[in-house]
Symmetry: C2
Subunit: 253 residues, 2 copies
């Protein structure tokens, strides 16, 4: 069933005020009175809703749905500004894979230089991609999108996390493939986790130092060299496996 | 260091006969006598090689390199023909993530219909993408690319695997998130594993039946709905984690 995110708190009946959402509902999907969709408000609870009036864009809330597909931890992905449209792919896929937030920062070795205007435009585009992906993958939350125009502003945010992982391929090359697996065994439900990735050229030694000073732990992501846009997808998939499949496994057995 | 795959067995000296490879080496990278690269022949061993003559496209093999980044199992990814250029993305990313082979088959619910000519052209394009990705991610093997024009031909291949997983989101929806984790504990080094994915519309009930008759096991890939091109990346990442990180972990501790 089609799912939509609606800003604000759940009220009954609901009037859809967001223009893009209303357009998709009544022009693209051509919903008519009696049709059902899933609406998700700021509380992250999915609710079954029935169109009252297509003309007034109004819905009646029928019932809460128990379905919760969020990761048991809040994962923020932070990518060094990559080239071209790679952030589009990262944002879409990271949303499908359960990220709570998708950030990007100007890394020492980022080739692209995005100024304030370009950054705002890019952020807006990514927010749309993320909203669409969150609806399609039936998320309970829309990931936050944030592009930092200064690295200092990004560094200031590092204090807000329980764990910070630095994706660093030299760690894997040095033969330690297990750092991430070891660390994930200590992760607890509800924790805030930050995963930092470099741009195409990687993370500079100076940045590694800064991230480590903030408590970051270097981890490899397998023995193969992953492109900058692939690494976050690997990390999120592994988190899902370690915290969702294995967790459920222990409950089962 | 730049890596190239060379068809055939290692011989010393080596003459590069593949036109595209020679062009990349001597026109794009402008290698000159004395420059070093890594060459990988059919045996999958990386060898340090030094340019003898840029004019003759010849190299001297210096030494074998111990570096092996292949997954401990041979994983084949089989996607139902997806729309547009999605196979390009799947092929590139599956190569980075360690797939041994990338297959696609005409699924019941595939929207696209590719005939023989289109298929051959597409296969050729994918082979180039895969070669480039294998070089960039420093693989020891170039994954096989195979597009089946008939589903029957694909089904005939199912007997050649030790384990067949069917990516099936209903399994996860039904609350069993642990099927894949349980199965991966029984996987042994060197086994041949097939992972079957549906196209955008999913795998038809008839196909599920056929795949199960061939020994396929339905597994979910986490609680979120993944797009057809994202599911193989999740599966490969999880295999890497379960078989590479965890394996190394047990050796460490």
């Amino acid at each position: 069933m089609q799912q939509y995110f609606v800003n604000g708190r759940a009220e009954n009946p609901v009037i859809i005020r967001d223009r893009d959402t209303a357009k998709h509902m009544f022009s693209v999907m051509r919903l008519v009175a009696g049709d059902e969709v899933v609406l998700v408000f700021d509380d992250g609870i999915k609710r079954l809703a029935k169109v009252l009036s297509a003309e007034n864009h109004s819905f009646e809330l029928i019932e809460d749905l128990p379905d919760n597909v969020e990761l048991p931890v809040q994962v923020t992905i932070a990518s060094g500004f990559p080239k071209g449209d790679k952030l589009d792919l990262i944002s879409q896929k990271a949303t499908e894979l359960g990220a709570a937030a998708i950030w990007a920062y100007p890394a020492d070795w980022s080739v692209v230089k995005w100024d304030g205007k370009k950054l705002a435009k890019k952020e807006e585009k990514l927010a749309k991609i993320v909203l669409g992906a969150a609806e399609q993958s039936k998320r309970n939350r829309v990931p936050e999108v944030k592009l930092f125009d200064q690295k200092a502003a990004f560094l200031e945010q590092l204090t807000g996390f329980d764990k910070i992982f630095i994706a660093y391929e030299e760690t894997a090359k040095a033969g330690d493939l297990s750092a991430l697996a070891r660390e994930l065994e200590t992760v607890e439900t509800g924790q805030k986790i930050l995963f930092i990735f470099g741009p195409e050229g990687g993370i500079s030694p100076k940045e590694i130092e800064l991230f480590e000073q903030a408590g970051g732990i270097k981890v490899g992501l397998g023995p193969r060299i992953l492109r900058t846009e692939t690494a976050p997808l690997y990390a999120l998939s592994v988190l899902s496996y370690a915290l969702e499949m294995k967790e459920f496994k222990s409950l089962d057995s």
